[in-house]
């Protein structure tokens, strides 16, 4: 058994961390968040991510990628979670890029992946709809064959990175009932853009006979999408662990310095126990994020999916506990925009509603027989 990071992974993590330590302190982040322009992230940092090889981390080298695995991606995401980055990395790389890499034709891969890796193309993946919640299949967007390609009609909501994407990958049902994956140019959709509660950019997207090309074959798309969402969920767990770790240490440091009743409030056993419990939750989350990451190597799709879903249940449970306690133990200051802890809470709260919420996952994992089964 080998559970520790490899040297290579550790170096990668250090490189990302050192860039973010320099460039992403709480003030720099707040400045981006509150900047008056339409974009609340840094294109210049995006270039630096490209230079570090992060934007093509898991793509094959023949497509301009670094050819690394999900383990490396998880390391990067944990560092991103600690810094709470605002760039559209999940949308463009984790979802968009990996969907093209998994489902795309060789031609689609060779045009799009190098452009993503070098930072010149932004992607987004839209699948949730006003009435679909997180279901991939319970959708009303339709794809109709048209000449060599397709036209798409429907509405997608809460499309992460949908505000800036040059091209969007969207799900739509074909006339023969398959849920396919289609590539649509940003110019061919109407967008209602906004920031999510955590500050990341997103959009609701309206498609009305928008011209599109199928990504790979519509008949195979769903399986690819599900696999990419497994990977995305697993690395989202790592991001959340990074955020939780910061929330715990921000809180602990605050308890040691905040003086009330003539002493640092860390002397109150009530608060010591509460921070100990936060630490327990963090360790539980860390372990399940590892379960998720390791399970991705499992060839048994059902096993893999169950492990990833279980991990997200733990991550959501832990981050809710840690986040709410982090605010509470800070007192009033924890509720302010000026102070970082609330921003972490907002991010992990959004994560808990990304790709599926806890109840949905509890239901699925439970209905599937759970995790601990006689052997």
């Amino acid at each position: 058994m080998e559970l520790d990071l490899t040297d290579e992974q550790r170096m990668l993590g250090d490189a990302v961390k050192s860039l973010l330590d320099k460039r992403y302190d709480a003030n720099a982040r707040l400045a981006l968040l509150e900047s008056s322009g339409p974009e609340h992230w840094s294109r210049e940092l995006w270039k630096q991510y490209a230079e570090l090889g992060l934007l093509g981390l898991t793509f094959d080298e023949q497509y301009g990628g670094a050819g690394m695995g999900v383990g490396e991606l998880a390391v990067v995401m944990e560092a991103f979670g600690r810094a709470l980055i605002l760039e559209p990395f999940i949308a463009t790389v984790v979802l968009g890029g990996q969907l093209i890499a998994a489902a795309g034709t060789p031609e689609q891969k060779s045009t799009l992946l190098p452009a993503v890796a070098e930072g010149s193309t932004l992607l987004a993946f839209g699948y949730t709809e006003p009435a679909s919640r997180w279901s991939l299949t319970d959708i009303t967007t339709t794809a109709t064959p048209s000449g060599d390609g397709w036209t798409i009609s429907g509405e997608k909501i809460a499309v992460l990175g949908g505000d800036v994407a040059d091209q969007l990958l969207v799900t739509a049902t074909t006339p023969d009932g398959a849920v396919g994956l289609f590539l649509v140019a940003g110019a061919d959709v109407v967008r209602d853009t906004y920031q999510l509660q955590d500050g990341l950019g997103a959009a609701d997207v309206l498609l009305s006979d928008s011209p599109a090309v199928a990504v790979g074959s519509p008949a195979d798309a769903l399986a690819h999408i599900e696999s990419v969402l497994d990977v995305a969920t697993a690395v989202l767990c790592s991001e959340a662990v990074g955020a939780m770790d910061r929330m715990l240490w921000l809180t602990v440091d605050y308890l040691k310095t905040r003086v009330q009743f003539g002493q640092p409030i860390s002397v109150f056993q009530a608060l010591q126990f509460r921070s100990a419990d936060m630490y327990v939750s963090l360790e539980q989350a860390r372990s399940m994020a590892l379960v998720a990451r390791l399970s991705l190597a499992d060839d048994d799709v059902a096993e893999r999916r169950r492990a990833v879903q279980a991990a997200k249940i733990q991550i959501d449970t832990s981050s809710r506990h840690i986040g709410l306690e982090a605010i509470q133990l800070h007192g009033g200051i924890g509720m302010t925009m000026e102070y970082p802890v609330g921003h972490y809470v907002k991010r992990t709260t959004v994560i808990a509603k990304t790709f599926a919420d806890t109840d949905t996952l509890v239901e699925i994992v439970g209905a599937g027989g759970g995790l601990i089964t006689a052997g």
């Binding site: 949730t128 006003p130 009435a131 919640r133 997180w134 279901s135 319970d138 509405e155 909501i157 809460a158 109407v190 209602d192 906004y194 920031q195 999510l196 509660q197 997103a202 609701d204 309206l206 009305s208 003086v259 009330q260 009743f261 003539g262 109150f268 009530a270 608060l271 709410l324 605010i327 509470q328 007192g331 009033g332 924890g334 509720m335 302010t336 925009m337 000026e338 609330g342 921003h343 809470v345 907002k346 709260t349 959004v350 509603k353 990304t354 919420d357 109840d359 509890v362 239901e363």
Partner: protein, 398 residues
């Protein structure tokens, strides 16, 4: 909680309901019922109508506009008001400074302030907390030094709710720096227009502006704006905070939130059935309803005892109400977030969408901001840790 009420009490509740649903403009109540915020104007309208009908300050002495009601009647009044989504009379006025002035103030100060406090012609804010005096409020450092018939005030208050809308502030200030912590504190009323006062907004994580820092730089305050005795302010503050804690239970507000959640859940279809039929969602909702019913009964027990025995000394049960009441409030805000799914994630100023897009589901604008914002309920009015300490002291007798 009909079972516990007498016929007369039920009739009283009915009368209140009729008043609130006919006299307070439906436009305001409908907006709040859908998760909208009350504006300054809404608070003014609502409180002025209530005041005209003698209903803004029922718990005050009758001489100053109060009603000779039983504690249970007061509770039913508050409950019906919140269930009808009426902006309540401003707590800083009616629950906090008003009762302090009425109980401890001179006749002159009562006459000067109580009528305008009841009518909201004066909008009060609460200047207690300071950057280094939160839970340890008695360590506050803002000073008031007597100079002839004035006090000169220097220092800083923080977390001052709605100071941006207020025209007066009631402050705890240190008048005797030599005395032991609690003993050297006084209760001073200050006009926000006095030279030397600066208000700086603090933005909260929900994106809203409801609290402020208030700075005092050589602010000259007429000495006749002192309430009661100099250096006795701590006793008045304790009296005020005791009232505040039972007030924040707001069972009616939690019930109103639950009713809204049930209305919306019935219309939200997940996996081919409404969320009300979803076992996991329903279980959370039902457990919450049971706990809210329990806390409501606890409130009634406290009020009943108060009605029989007169206002008792502060009782750990008021801490129970604050602690549990705030947690239940918070749980209700979270259920609304769960209900909305991905539609809760966008941060939007309002519910408008461009042409062609689906209308946003109700709650999508307010659910998450309200969830974040209500974290405050376990922090202010004596944090829940402070409440646990009070309860523990009372039962462990240390």
């Amino acid at each position: 909680m009909d079972i516990a009420l007498s016929k007369e009490e039920r009739a009283f509740a009915e009368r209140m309901r009729t008043f609130f649903t006919t006299e307070i403009p439906a436009e305001i109540r409908d907006r709040l019922a859908r998760g909208g915020h009350a504006t300054r104007e809404d608070f003014l309208t609502s409180q002025q109508i209530m005041n005209k009908h003698g209903l803004a300050v029922p718990h005050w002495p009758t001489q100053w506009g109060g009603q000779d009601w039983t504690p249970v009647q007061r509770h039913l009044y508050a409950e019906e008001m919140l269930l009808a989504f009426v902006p309540p009379p401003l707590a800083f006025n009616t629950q906090m400074v008003g009762p302090v002035i009425a109980t401890f103030g001179s006749e002159a100060i009562k006459e000067r302030f109580l009528p305008k406090t009841a009518s909201l012609d004066i909008w009060w804010c609460q200047g207690f907390s300071e950057p280094n005096a939160g839970s340890d409020l008695a360590s506050l450092k803002t000073t008031a030094v007597r100079d002839g018939d004035e006090y000169i005030v220097n220092g800083q208050k923080t977390w001052t709710t709605l100071a941006q809308w207020a025209n007066w502030i009631f402050c705890l200030v240190r008048t005797d720096p030599e005395a032991k912590k609690q003993r050297g504190i006084s209760f001073l009323l200050i006009d926000m227009d006095t030279p030397g006062i600066t208000v700086r907004p603090i933005q909260l994580i929900d994106g809203g502006h409801e609290v402020n820092e208030v700075f005092f730089d050589n602010v000259r305050v007429p000495a006749d704006q002192l309430v009661g005795e100099e250096n006795a302010g701590w006793d008045y503050a304790k009296f005020l905070l005791g009232n505040e804690r039972t007030g924040v239970v707001a069972v009616g507000q939690t019930k109103a939130r639950i009713l809204r959640i049930k209305r919306l859940a019935a219309e939200t279809v997940v996996n081919g059935r409404s969320l009300l039929e979803d076992p996991l969602f329903r279980a959370k909702l039902t457990r919450l309803e049971v706990e809210v019913t329990a806390i409501e009964m606890s409130v009634l027990r406290v009020l009943d005892a108060e009605g029989r025995n007169g206002p008792g000394k502060p009782d750990p049960v008021s801490s129970v109400l604050k602690l549990k009441g705030s947690e239940l409030q918070q749980q209700a805000t979270e259920l609304l977030v769960d209900l909305l799914g991905p539609a809760a994630l966008a941060y939007r100023e309002d519910g408008e969408v461009p042409d062609g897009f689906s209308a946003l589901p109700e709650g999508s604008v307010d659910a998450l901001p309200t969830f974040f914002n209500w974290r405050k309920a376990s922090i202010y009015s004596g944090s829940n840790e402070v409440q646990r300490t009070i309860i523990a002291k009372a039962i462990l007798k240390f």
